[in-house]
Symmetry: C2
């Protein structure tokens, strides 16, 4: 049900609208006639315009009442814009400087005007060309530690957390996309699924008949449905990260809700591993990718190691929430026991993250939405070889999670999977 | 902030109010002057009136803007009545016949008019006198399996569950009582705490210095804060059960919210075990309690065994929720794996329940709110002896949960603890 007054903006109509929003008009400078508007959305769901004026630029993101990629046959509520701007505001609070600023939000139009990230590009695009981002690990770990810790029971009182949680309970339509596309469809015959065919037909069938795998992914789905640990971004792949050589920003938190932290961490790890395996499809004798692959695995290790250290530091210095009340652990024995419990907490979170990473690696190869890291490998045999390695690792990570107690165990297994081939 | 129009009713003013509620007036029969009103509340929080007329009776429960037991110095929102009637309605749906019917709810007065349970008594009262309730296990397991399964991700779609969850997110003031009184204060110096003194001074101090115990209870607290598994009753002790020889009803779900199922199951187990240990304080040569103690432990076993069987049966026959989608487990291998996973699910739930049971046993002896099972033992040495056994078992259950894989392990340990003394 589209509200009275909603209409999708076009390159032709957007400037006139923005000229009525004084903060935005001032930011752009000049008048509507001076502004250059381009629709640049490359995502699956929404319209995104870049608007440039004499004094500055903005990005304008507008939700459509359906999935952009598919059309009106797949309706999706406009409210996702509401949840996105709420999540952006929360993230800005806990990870300042790491998300675009919001200049304006129009509830009726489901439209967000935000800081134009320029000359940023989508990180995935750079990684496909083997570009290194020396600031990425630092930024993404600060982002994840800040947002996940800051919205958890370790930082918030139960009252604060439940109030925020209730607000995000309405974002079920977006959650359902995740529930279906990540945790269910790749493991059954489903119209949405696609894969490199016929090369992957066998492994796709194998996965559909793999009872241990289906139990494992369903257990993760249950966690996604019921564990309200923190406000998670919900779509934290390398296509939601915009970078320059020295700036990193996280965009597109429209899937945000109170869910399991490991889902975000796993998303980052999964997308790095996918890129790692994809490099063998892009390498040429003139452009070998092995040293880049080393960088990708080092970054993967850095993501967990950095996140863990920062999360623990926040816990040590800002445990203002209702969980693990400081008063119980003030004596020496208590302080020591709490320290051990914090390590155990991180270990449990790592195990979750490995599982969620595996689920995301699989869905990007057997499900609806694929990654251009792999998709851009034109030779289908070569692509399928990369994909198969990625799938085999993911299957083992998900089913035999005890074999992956550390991030080094994950990266070693990735390396072994690739080198054995 | 008390709403305009709120006022606490009294025995003198209630009949006039009820005469204006036609459904209630009709149920009572006659006119207001014919009605007998008695305030009977024995709980800690609210007013409860019994009103009897020529044609029938009702129970009227009204929230006060503070904790009844303490007074205005401890404010508590009236909204608990709203959550109680919502929970009662949900429970009635999933466990028909096991809760009182609601005749009327007045939001402004925070007042619920419900079915008068008569000649029911509070089960705890009967158990102190060693009365057996042959229908209890059957009823409470039906109640728990029905309400917990029916509001979980196994029965509800994510959208249905999140909508219900959001509504109960507002019940934080009641949750906070649990968070403080059960999971925190008994493990630290706190004004609210009390215990049989000086007999228990030593063990109380021991517990406050027991780092492993404080970590374990804090991990349970985190689960309480973040695991939204199902709509739980939240206060499911034997004082929230009203019984006759052949009818059992669950009352008083004002603490309801989406939380960990094990909290309810643990509450029932804990209160049975407390009664078990208390019997040695009530036994006399003329009134030995050993065979009653056998009944209590058999009931404890029946609570878990019956719950488990019924929950699994519901899962097999009514898995209409988004978790563990049936489509993934339709083939033979899938069906077998799902069956094994269901057993594993119940094992995890049992482990949670043991932990929560332990937390409740401890809070009833070292925290603010005590059970009359123990409190009515007048000889303080004798009472302290019973309490110490209960505390020692609880401490072991909470810290060494792996030693309690089955309910029989729990009851055997209870028996051993008692017999060793
Ligand atoms: N603040 C911004 N500055 C510059 N470009 C942006 C900005 N936000 C989005 N974009 C561009 O728009 C694309 C789609 O944005 P995104 O938020 O991911 O939309 P969707 O939800 O449809 O995936 C991004 O890949 C990026 O190229
Ligand atoms: N429906 C009822 N029928 C008869 N007595 C009731 C009913 N509901 C409550 N009572 C009586 O009132 C007492 C307090 O009710 P309860 O709901 O437990 O209040 P509180 O929330 O204050 O603990 C019960 O112990 C019981 O004696
Ligand atoms: Mg996007
Ligand atoms: Mg998006
Ligand atoms: Mg009560
Ligand atoms: Mg009550
Ligand atoms: Mg005996």
């Amino acid at each position: 049900p589209v509200p009275e007054g909603y209409e999708p903006k076009s390159e032709a109509s957007l400037a006139a609208y923005l000229s009525g929003v004084s903060a935005v008009a001032a930011h752009l400078g000049g008048a509507a006639g001076d502004w250059r508007v381009r629709e640049v959305g490359d995502g699956n769901l929404n319209l995104v315009f870049i608007v440039e004026g004499p004094a500055g630029g903005v990005a304008v993101k507008q939700a459509l009442p359906y999935v952009r990629l598919v059309g009106e046959s797949w309706p999706l509520p406009l409210s996702r814009a509401h949840f996105e701007q709420m999540a952006l505001a929360t993230e800005a609070q806990h990870a300042p400087g790491l998300v675009p600023d919001i200049l304006h939000y129009d509830q009726t139009l489901a439209l967000i005007v935000m800081e134009l990230l320029q000359p940023h590009i989508i990180m995935r695009q750079g990684m496909i060309k083997a570009v290194r981002y020396p600031g990425f690990v630092e930024a993404i770990t600060t982002f994840m530690a800040g947002t996940l810790f800051g919205t958890s029971d370790l930082a918030l009182t139960a009252e604060e957390k439940k109030a925020a949680m209730a607000e995000f309970c309405g974002n079920t339509a977006l959650c359902k996309i995740t529930e279906d596309l990540i945790f269910t469809e790749p493991y059954r015959i489903a119209e949405n699924n696609r894969w490199t065919t016929p090369q992957l037909d066998g492994i796709a069938r194998e996965f559909r008949e793999d009872a241990a795998l289906k139990v494992a992914v369903s257990r993760l789905k249950l966690k996604f449905l019921s564990e309200a640990q923190a406000l998670i971004h919900g779509d934290l792949h390398t296509g939601s990260v915009m970078v320059t050589e020295d700036d990193t920003r996280v965009i597109d938190p429209e899937f945000a809700f109170y869910g399991p932290m490991g889902f975000d961490i796993g998303a980052v790890i999964a997308n790095l591993l996918i890129n790692y395996f994809s490099q063998d499809g892009h390498a040429t004798p003139e452009d070998p990718r092995e040293s880049y692959q080393d960088w990708v695995l080092a970054a993967t290790e850095g993501v967990w190691t950095g996140f863990r250290a920062k999360f623990l530091a926040l816990w040590r210095n800002g445990a203002t929430g209702d969980a693990y009340p400081a008063a119980l652990f003030a004596d020496t024995a208590g302080a020591e026991a709490l320290k051990a419990e914090q390590e155990a907490y991180m270990d449990r979170l790592f195990t979750d993250s490995v599982g969620f990473a595996a689920a995301k690696m699989i869905r990007r190869i057997l499900g609806l939405a694929h990654n251009i890291d792999l998709e851009w490998i034109e030779d289908l045999d070569r692509r399928a070889a990369c994909e198969t390695r990625c799938l085999r690792l993911a299957r083992d990570m998900m089913v035999n999670r005890a074999n992956y107690p550390t991030i080094e165990a994950v990266t070693a297994a990735a390396r072994k999977m690739r080198d054995a081939a």
